[in-house]
């Protein structure tokens, strides 16, 4: 049964930024755009680069710095190749300043 786990402080993540947290053996990125939090697998499905390391956020998309794959942070789907597989996405919430991801 999935449950919300605290991964860090909500104020760790500034507006327009993404940061990765280790959660149960996975690397999960959390980003904040327009005040809304998004959580998704930090590992690009193309060549396993970390999306949070240099990934460019534009509205709800993030573009991998390595080879240009673009993902939708809401649905995880590929918006631009070379990746062909979606990334996993996760529910995320700010619980009294604690950043919580449901895995």
């Amino acid at each position: 049964m999935a449950e919300f786990m605290t991964v860090g402080r909500s104020d760790d993540i500034g507006e327009g930024e993404a940061k990765a947290f280790p959660v149960g053996g996975n690397e999960i990125a959390v980003s904040r755009v327009g005040g809304t939090l998004y959580a998704f697998s930090d590992i690009c499905t193309h060549r396993a680069c970390n999306l949070s390391m240099g990934g460019e956020i534009d509205a709800t998309s993030i573009t991998c710095e390595c080879h240009g794959s673009m993902f939708d942070m809401v649905t995880g789907e590929v918006l631009e190749g070379p990746a062909t597989e979606a990334i996993a996405t996760f529910p995320v919430r700010d619980e009294g300043g604690e950043l919580q991801v449901e895995v």
Partner: protein, 411 residues
């Protein structure tokens, strides 16, 4: 009822795979035939000089799409098959073996082939070049744990192979015709930064020199340069550029040595016949006619060509972008600047962490090159695509977001 149209794609490459996937995702439900000379389903070539060469990635991992994808999407594949003739009037291609395939639209994505070195002894065992997965496998086997290797040419392939072989424990010497590493694309100033990186990693480099001959008794033993240097070697890897594989266009007048000419929408002068990827010399709205050999271009041209085979009429105005990984360092480049008047640097060449902006005589940003400097090359895309003349001080200031330098009107 299916549309009843047949689209043929020659070249089971990244471009070809990208095109067929786009045709299906755009809803084309006619027949698609994807034909390739290699036995493998389309795969990504960049890892061949990097992770795949070093044994860090499997063949399956570098496939553009899983092998089963094509059948699942009703794509008729002919791998290991040569196309011997294009019959432009008969709207058909002829395959080795004689089969004739009629097409309603054709995409030629035959890529390039490596230039051969014109030097005695080039046929000796131990002399390789790198184009396909099979070449990478053969090189990996030949270098074993630590061969003495000569890389002939220090363009991107030579530099990446040199880096990978050093990481694999080989003794690496480079012979390069120009004055420094990657000179033709990056120029002397940036080239020398990369030269220093390779020197620090233990690569020996001979510049302004070429191979005079390969020596050995049946198998390579020594590489001798025109400058008179003799280098004992077990393996040589030749990376001196490619030429576009245009033979299919024989008889059409489009089999040009600098690539198949295509217009803004990637269509040739033969209606319904398109070319994309390394083989295409396309008319770029900002750069003019050019042919590039970049991964990202292959992918995006395949997508655009597919949409235009369906009648979209889309202009291909991609700013052209590529990367190169050498050791733990990533190089990126966008745009096209065969020459430039001024280079503005953000960051530091000495510290090997920078983005360099190449401006033409009118101050237009033509290209951006970075080493270990994330984001700014991609952030320069709109500036390049729209031929903007950015303020040099703003370019040099790391605190200025390049995206704010794009004028708002017309976006």
């Amino acid at each position: 009822m299916a549309e009843g149209r047949t689209f043929v794609v020659v070249g089971a490459s990244l471009t070809g795979a990208s095109a067929v996937a786009t045709l299906r995702s755009e809803g084309f439900d006619g027949r698609i035939v994807l034909i390739g000379a290699e036995e493998h389903p389309p795969y990504e070539r960049p890892p061949l000089s990097k992770e795949y060469l070093r044994g860090g990635e499997t063949a399956e991992k570098i496939l553009v799409r899983p092998a089963a994808w094509y059948a699942e999407h009703d794509v008729d594949t002919r791998f290991g098959t040569l196309v011997t003739q294009l019959d432009a009037h008969g709207r058909s291609v002829v395959l080795a073996g004689g089969e004739r395939l009629r097409f309603d639209a054709l995409l030629v994505a035959t890529g390039g082939r490596n230039r051969r070195i014109d030097a005695p002894g080039a046929e000796l065992a131990g002399v390789f070049d790198l184009r396909g997965m099979d070449d990478a496998d053969a090189i990996r086997t030949a270098v074993g744990g630590g061969a003495r290797v000569v890389c002939v040419g220090m363009g991107f392939i030579g530099a990446e192979v040199a880096a990978s072989l050093r990481m694999m424990g080989c003794d690496v010497t480079v012979v390069e015709i120009f004055e420094t590493a990657l000179y033709r694309v990056l120029g002397g100033e940036i080239g020398r930064v990369l030269e220093a990186v390779h020197r620090d990693q233990g690569v020996t480099m001979h510049f302004n020199d070429v191979v005079a001959r390969f020596e050995g008794d049946g198998r390579l033993e020594r590489v001798v340069t025109s400058g008179g240097t003799a280098i004992d070697a077990d393996v040589a890897i030749v990376g001196i550029g490619t030429s576009p594989a245009v033979e299919l266009m024989a008889g059409t007048g489009l089999d040009r040595p600098d690539g198949i000419p295509v217009g803004l929408t990637l269509e040739t002068s033969i209606p319904g016949v398109f070319a994309a990827g390394d083989v295409a010399r396309h008319d770029h709205p900002v750069f003019g006619p050019l042919r590039v050999e970049h991964f990202d271009n292959a992918l995006k041209m395949g997508e655009t060509a597919a949409r235009n085979m369906l009648g979209a009429g889309e202009v291909f105005d991609d700013p052209h972008w590529f990367w190169s990984d050498q050791y733990d360092m990533q190089i990126q480049m966008a745009g096209y600047a065969p020459t430039w008047e001024r280079m503005v640097v953000r960051g530091s060449l000495e510290e090997r962490s920078f983005c360099a902006f190449l401006l033409d005589g009118a101050g237009v940003l033509r290209s951006a090159v970075s080493i270990a400097w994330p984001r700014d090359v991609r952030r320069s895309f709109d500036l390049i695509r729209r031929a903007i003349r950015p303020d040099a001080d703003a370019l040099a200031d790391p605190d200025v977001d390049l995206r704010t330098l794009v004028p708002d009107e017309g976006r």
